[in-house]
Amino acid sequence: MGAIIYGHFTDELELLDAVKELKDKGIRIADVRTPFPVHGLDAALKFPRSHLPKVAFVAGVIGGSLGLLFQVWVFTKGWPLNIGGKPHLSLPSFVPVTFELTILFAAFAMGIAFLLRSNLGPGKIPDILDEEVTNDHFQVILTVKNNSLSEVELAEALAATGALDVKQVNEEK
């Protein structure tokens, strides 16, 4: 049922114009694939801001507090040793480890969140329609499923924006 229509551009400026054009026509764009992050595409596609920074923040807070609390516990409750006459609660000493754990947790939580959210990961097989999108093709993908227009109309609309090689495949599912 759900056919996929796609075509590509060789210049990101053309792509941007095309996306705007399609959007103006009320056509929903399923995906745009580019060899590099195109400046202004996020806005054109009206992506909301990513939540990854929030993940990083929360994870950092967790990592930092765990690190700090653990150190405090070890030195005041776990086994309060007298080390060099320093106070058991030697907070300045705890700064470096707390800091490092904050960064470690934040970075890895964000990395993992990115992979999960984007469904990426070792061994994932991508649905590649045009191998040149990782080289110099800027590809626009439309689906019938989330558009009210028919396959032909969509293809025409896409071709009208100047897209090259407009093709159609039927989704296997």
Binding site: H39, R49, P53, F57, P92, S93, V95
Partner: protein, 396 residues
Amino acid sequence: MKKQNIPEPVPFKFGKKLKTYLGIAAGVGLLALLIAVFLQQLPSERIWANLWMNALMFLFLGLGALFFWTVNTLGESTWQINIQRIMESMGLTIPFAVILFIVAFPGLKDLFEWTHTEHLDKILQKKEAYLNFPFWLFRFAVYFGLWSFFAFYLRKISVKNDFEPYEKFLARLRATSGWFMVIFAITSSMAAWDWLMSIDAHWFSTLYGWYIFSGMFVSAVAVIILITIAFRHFGILPNVNAEHLHDLGKYLFGFSIFWAYLWISQYLLIWYSNIPEETVYYVERVNNFGTIFYVNVITNFLFPFLALMTRGAKRQQLYLAIVAVIVLMGHYLDLYLAIMPGAVGRENASIGLLEIGLPFFYLAAFLTLFFIFFEKAKPVPENHPYFIESSDYENI
């Protein structure tokens, strides 16, 4: 973006209303001083220490701004071009700080233990080759001479470019900035030793100069932010947009962290080794100025760190202005903590009318000079080769 599309800035007029406000502020400051001297009859060292502290803060704003401008010039960055004239004009106030310092000169004996040459202890005798008044005065003159020269010369090149658009000015600006950077790197540290560290004459810390520098830089950025927001608000700098505020906010955020980094570096190392020759500085502050000691870290690190962490915070002008004001006050407190325990001592030091009121005079003086200089040139260096870049960029 084309140059034509960039809105023309409104030339700034140092109006009467503004002058009146500044006059009132200066009056408040003077009144506080008079009350302190005649009514409260505060101990002389507290009066002198206040004059000294405010003179330093006055200098810091100009010097920090000059540094900010030159470092951005050297880094070939562009975003700051739209607010460059603010920094330039702030830098021009440097020579006037001399007067404020000289006003405090009669109090040097109250401030600096090492000036009492008649009874120096063993350690101070060892330092006498450096810490003696004639040499100190000589260095004072050299620092101000060099800084003033660069402030005026750089400004001259910048303004010239307004009338003779020529690529070469950029090169000269850069070269001069380079020289200034070298001079500044040496003199800023030395000045910090001369004017602040030697108050606690026995104490020493290699990091001290850089620590003071970081505080100075953050204070200057805070003031730049406030002026920028005001000018944007009053339409004097129509090109300034959220992107510029975002960048300024990032600097305030980043360098507050940098300041905290230097603070913890110095404190941690001295705390860790616990050698009396070094701990004496912190023991005095932790024991006798405990509240201020911790409030200092909170206002200057924890507060801006949390307040400016999000993207939105840095782009919201009112919010950013409030943060900047608080951070500026925080660094005033930092300076207080650097000077008072050594110069005044725990018995006599406190924050009262004088400490709160007197800065108004200095702030008014600073702003008056600033407005005078800002008025004298175009609000933006529109012939700067990166001017268009500066008006057309985005933060990710």
